[in-house]
Symmetry: C3
Subunit: 214 residues, 3 copies
């Protein structure tokens, strides 16, 4: 049993590393669209890739933060962002792969965020919120630093994917599924929703309001 949990944690960790690299790459492209300089690129990568976990840990008082404990994460994400400058043209041709890896990052970050809150003994609403913050807050920080309204608030089912993943993961364990089965099920369902949303342009209805309050 231990070895199975160990294996699933190793897979989760490997997917986490893929996820932070994919997020750093997409952050570098966002930086390039605003003509940031190389230092800006090198900073926006780690902020985007590691920012979701950082916001979660700061809100939950969960120290040390993962990149403080593993400084290599800072170097890997800054390096991935800088490397993107050199290979940007090829990234465009590989964009479907990167969007897929970014989606993998979203569901992995969500599951990891849920796990942190579960380990802290927090109630289920906070477990799901913790997963959502971990999955989504990095992209919100990226958009704030690009002086944009967060994409998360305007389009795509990004946050919805995080909530679905969190609910299925927690719900799977609640109905008695094995830990690994719950994780796999939640991640596959979240990934499927994200890919279908990208493929068919699914989005939430918008709320349009034109009055001012005073």
């Amino acid at each position: 049993m231990d070895s199975i949990i160990g294996t699933s944690e190793q897979i989760l960790h490997a997917l986490y590393m893929i996820g932070i690299v994919a997020e750093a790459v997409t952050a570098a492209l966002a930086a390039g669209r605003r003509s940031m300089d190389w230092m800006g690129v090198a900073m926006l990568g780690p902020v985007t890739a590691l920012g979701g976990g950082a916001v979660r840990d700061v809100l939950l008082g969960h120290h040390p933060l993962s990149w403080v404990e593993h400084p290599s994460y800072l170097l890997i994400t800054a390096g991935a962002a800088l490397a993107t400058i050199a290979v940007a043209r090829h990234v465009y041709h590989l964009r479907k792969i990167f969007l897929f890896l970014d989606a993998v990052g979203l569901v992995v970050f969500t599951v990891i965020g849920c796990n942190v809150a579960i380990a802290l003994g927090l109630p289920v609403v906070i477990v799901i919120a913790s997963g959502m913050i971990t999955g989504c807050a990095g992209g919100v920080l990226r958009d704030i630093l690009c002086a944009d309204i967060p994409l998360l608030f305007r389009a795509e089912l990004y946050a919805t994917v995080a909530i679905l993943t969190g609910v299925l993961y927690v719900g799977g364990q609640w109905v008695g599924l094995a830990h690994d089965i719950s994780i796999a099920l939640a991640m596959i369902a979240g990934l499927a929703l994200r890919i279908l949303a990208l493929r068919f342009g699914w989005s939430m209805p918008k709320f349009v309001y034109t009055h001012t309050l005073h």
Copy 2:
């Protein structure tokens, strides 16, 4: 004596619940003015309503945050924001009531923020700063997520109301007034200033500077 303090705390708590709902509603309208989607509305409500207390608690190292301890606050503020979509037209006709309840929220949040710093034994400048951050930082987060310069920095006597409320609350206790009297006095004065500022369009003078430094 205990029962009186208990009563004043119950009133403060009831006003707090009214305040977070009112702030969630005004946040939903701000989201609507930027055509955010329903998920964006559901997230901007809690961030605005609970963000001031969260910023205060993170800065003061005061854990757990209120919404981590009371996850229902997350659900109530997200629900209030979503409900606003359905009733937005009526909210416009009720806008004076909402501006009033938003002002109630401002002074209640300020008093609660002062109380947190007092309970931590912090000096008086930090007590007033804590009140101001609790009252105002949620709206600053809302405006950052809307990619706007915070309204707080540009117009209205919002922060001034928080400072006045904090100073009167702390000052009232310092000159020997009963705790409840200080709270009531500070909140009524802050509320009066806010309503007069809205009614007569009072604002701080602006600092206009057109040079660049280099």
Copy 3:
């Protein structure tokens, strides 16, 4: 030996006070360029001057924050920002002095940030990151509150100066230089790079990318 370290710490503290005042002044001018009101000016000063250290302390779980322990810092930086309104015309004529003092602030904040991480026993990558965050994050908060893409990400060698200062400070101690010599060397080199970058308009190459990912 004690008295020498004591003297160097006193110099560092004096330079820190100069640095926070200079940053509050430049923040007030940024507020003036956005026509913020006096309260906005009084708030943007402390956020900019003390925000770098606050972000560092929140990320590292290092409490209490410096301005919570020394509330006078809040009053000094708010006062410096407000005073700038009165003397703004003269600040323009003194702009070279202020840019110099702002650069002094950058290298002093960086060294202080490194010291905080060293005292917490953190690895060298985090020591340098801590210095950079302390030196740069206040300006990032200022630009976010002005709804701008942070200057740090777009122009000037600001973050590069912080990294150089941090690397030389840590490296100097690693090769066996005395503590004071390392500090002096790192600060002089960082200051020289910043002044040369301002004088000759040095900047990082930009990354320009025009595609969207999907």
